[in-house]
C-alpha cells in the first residue's frame, strides 16, 4: 500500500460542467424521493395513481384509508408485510392439535422459554390443553391473584410490564421516548352515542354494530347524539348527565353546584378550575375532565401495560365501572414489543384495538386492549358480537367506508356499538373490580 501510494502517479482533470449539473440533479431527485417516502402516505392514493384510476380514484369504490407508518428500515419492512394474514395463519397453526403424549413436553418447553409459572396454571394436567392456543389462553387457579385490599386502588388489568404511565395534558398521550400521540386518534374523536332502550344485565349485551362517521366535536350535530340533561349515572350521590360527562357542565351548574357550600380553600380551587374551564371550554374535547361541576377537580391519567408472550393473557377490570360503548378500530397488527413501541410513533393508533368507553366514580374511564401480530384476536366476554382480526370485519369496515363516502362524510375508522343494560341509571354494562373481562388469543 505504501509503495502504491508513493509510486502511483495521479493526474487531476476538471469535471465537465454537464456531469456536475447531472450529479446535482440526481442528488436533488434522491432527496425529494427520500423525504416523500419518510412521510406518512396513503397506500390507496398510490395504488390509484399506479393503476390508472387517477389521483382521486375515480371509478373505484372508496376503501379505508390507512396511513403508512414512518420509521427505521425495520418498520418499513414490517409495514409491507400482510400482518393480519400472517396473524390469522399463525392462529390456525397454533390450533392444530398436538399429539397427546407430546403435550406436556411441548408446554414445559414453552414455559421454560417464556417463564410461565406452571404451578399457577388452572388445569394442572397439561394433557388437557389440546394445542398451544388453548394453553396460551389458560386460566389461573383461584386465589393466585389476590386483589389489593385498598378499595380506592386502581388494579393492574393484566400480568405484564409497565411501559408508560402519567398524566394527559392537551389531549396528548406521551409514548416511550417522548413520542406522543393524540387521544382522539386512540379513542376516536366522536362522543359515544347513548340509547335509552335497555336489556337485562344478566344477559350478555348484544350491541348492534352501527358504523358511524366522525365529526368535529364542536359541530352543532352533536346535539343529535346527546340529549340534553339526560341522567347518565348516579354514583356516590353524584348525578352525571351526558352533557356533564362528555361536554362539560352548563355555566349555571358550575355556579350553583359547588361554590356556594365550599370552604374558602375549596372555593379557590374551584375558581382555579373554573378559570381553566373557561379557557379550555371552547376547544375542549369530549374526553376532557368532566368533574368541574363537582367539588373535586380531576385530571386524566393513563397507563400502558405490555403483556409478554409467556404472560397470563386474560385481562380483568381494574375498578368497578360501567362500560357504555365500544369502538372497534380494524387497523393493522404490528408487534407491540417495547422495541417497536420506541421505533414506531403512534403504534397504538395504528393497530387493531377495541376501545371500551364508560365511567366510574370519578368520571371518564376507558379500557383499550391493543392487538399484536401474534395475538391478534381480542375477546370481550360480555360482547359476543365482537369479531377481531377477521376477514369479515375488514369487509364490513370497507363497506362502512364506502357508505360514508357515498354520504359525503369522512370515515371515522371504527365501528361503534353501545351496551345497554336493565338499569337505566347505570346505562351500560357494569363491571366489578377484578372481574375477568376477556383476553387475547393467538392469531
Amino acid at each position: 500500500l505504501r509503495t502504491a501510494l508513493a509510486d502511483t502517479k495521479m493526474e487531476w482533470y476538471p469535471i465537465p460542467i454537464a456531469v456536475g449539473i447531472g450529479f446535482l440533479g440526481f442528488l436533488q431527485f434522491y432527496r425529494i424521493q427520500r423525504s416523500q417516502s419518510s412521510q406518512p402516505r396513503l397506500p390507496d392514493e398510490r395504488e390509484d395513481r399506479d393503476s390508472g384510476y387517477g389521483s382521486g380514484g375515480e371509478g373505484r369504490p372508496p376503501r379505508r384509508k390507512r396511513t403508512r407508518p414512518s420509521g427505521p428500515w425495520s418498520v418499513q419492512i414490517m409495514s409491507t408485510l400482510p400482518l393480519k394474514a400472517l396473524s390469522r395463519l399463525w392462529g390456525r397453526f397454533n390450533e392444530i392439535p398436538l399429539p397427546y403424549y407430546l403435550r406436556p413436553i411441548g408446554f414445559r418447553l414453552y414455559a421454560w422459554v417464556f417463564g410461565v409459572n406452571l404451578s399457577e396454571v388452572g388445569e394442572p394436567d397439561l394433557h388437557a390443553y389440546p394445542n398451544l392456543a388453548s394453553f396460551f389462553y389458560r386460566s389461573l387457579k383461584p386465589g393466585c391473584r389476590p386483589l389489593d385490599s385498598n378499595p380506592n386502588a386502581v388494579l393492574s388489568p393484566a400480568d405484564g410490564k409497565i411501559i408508560q404511565f402519567g398524566t394527559i395534558e392537551h389531549g396528548e398521550v406521551e409514548q416511550v421516548k417522548g413520542v406522543t400521540y393524540s387521544l382522539d386518534a386512540l379513542l376516536g374523536a366522536q362522543r359515544p352515542s347513548h340509547s335509552g332502550a335497555s336489556t337485562p344485565l344478566t344477559q350478555p349485551a348484544s350491541p348492534a354494530l352501527t358504523p358511524q362517521t366522525s365529526r368535529d366535536w364542536t359541530s352543532d350535530d352533536d346535539a343529535e347524539v346527546v340529549r340534553d340533561d339526560e341522567e347518565f349515572a348516579k354514583v356516590n350521590g353524584i348525578s352525571y348527565t351526558l352533557p356533564n360527562l362528555f361536554s362539560g357542565p352548563k355555566e349555571e351548574d358550575v355556579h350553583h353546584s359547588a361554590v356556594d357550600q365550599s370552604t374558602p380553600a375549596e372555593a379557590s380551587a374551584e375558581a382555579e378550575v373554573r378559570a381553566d374551564l373557561a379557557l379550555g371550554e371552547s376547544n375542549r374535547p369530549w374526553w376532557a375532565p368532566s368533574s368541574y361541576a363537582t367539588k373535586t377537580p380531576t385530571a386524566l391519567y393513563y397507563c400502558v401495560v405490555y403483556l409478554a408472550p409467556g404472560d397470563y393473557h386474560r385481562f380483568h377490570s381494574p375498578v368497578s365501572w360501567v362500560a357504555t360503548s365500544r369502538r372497534h378500530f380494524a387497523g393493522e397488527l404490528f408487534s407491540v414489543a417495547p422495541y417497536l413501541q420506541r421505533k414506531l410513533p403512534g403504534l397504538f393508533t395504528l393497530n387493531e384495538r377495541v376501545v371500551l368507553l364508560g365511567h366510574w366514580r370519578w368520571g371518564f374511564f376507558s379500557y383499550t386492549p391493543v392487538g399484536a401480530t401474534n395475538v391478534g384476536s381480542i375477546r370481550i366476554n360480555f360482547d359476543r358480537e365482537l369479531r377481531t382480526n377477521s376477514l369479515t370485519t375488514d369487509t364490513e369496515a370497507d363497506r362502512a367506508a364506502a357508505e360514508a363516502a357515498a354520504r359525503g362524510e369522512p370515515y371515522s375508522g371504527f365501528a361503534e356499538a353501545t351496551y345497554e343494560a336493565a338499569s337505566k341509571v347505570l346505562g351500560g354494562h357494569a363491571l366489578t373490580r377484578g372481574e375477568e373481562m376477556g383476553g387475547f388469543q393467538l392469531g
Binding site: I162, L186, T296, L307, T368
Partner: protein, 51 residues
C-alpha cells in the same frame, strides 16, 4: 399485546397558605398517586395507584 387505560381521577387540592408556608409549595394533597415505576412487572390485582 397491550392494554391502555385512560381514566379520570381527582388531582387533589392545593395546600392552604399555612401548608404552603411550611414547605408544601405547589404540591397537591390527596388526589391520585401512582404506585408503580416504568419497567416494573405487575400482576393482576396489584395496585397501579390510589385515589
Amino acid at each position: 399485546s397491550t392494554i391502555v387505560l385512560v381514566f379520570e381521577a381527582p388531582k387533589g387540592t392545593r395546600p392552604s397558605f399555612d401548608e404552603g408556608y411550611r414547605g408544601m409549595k405547589g404540591e397537591r394533597k390527596g388526589g391520585w398517586r401512582w404506585n408503580i415505576q416504568r419497567g416494573q412487572k405487575v400482576k393482576v390485582g396489584e395496585a397501579l395507584g390510589y385515589v
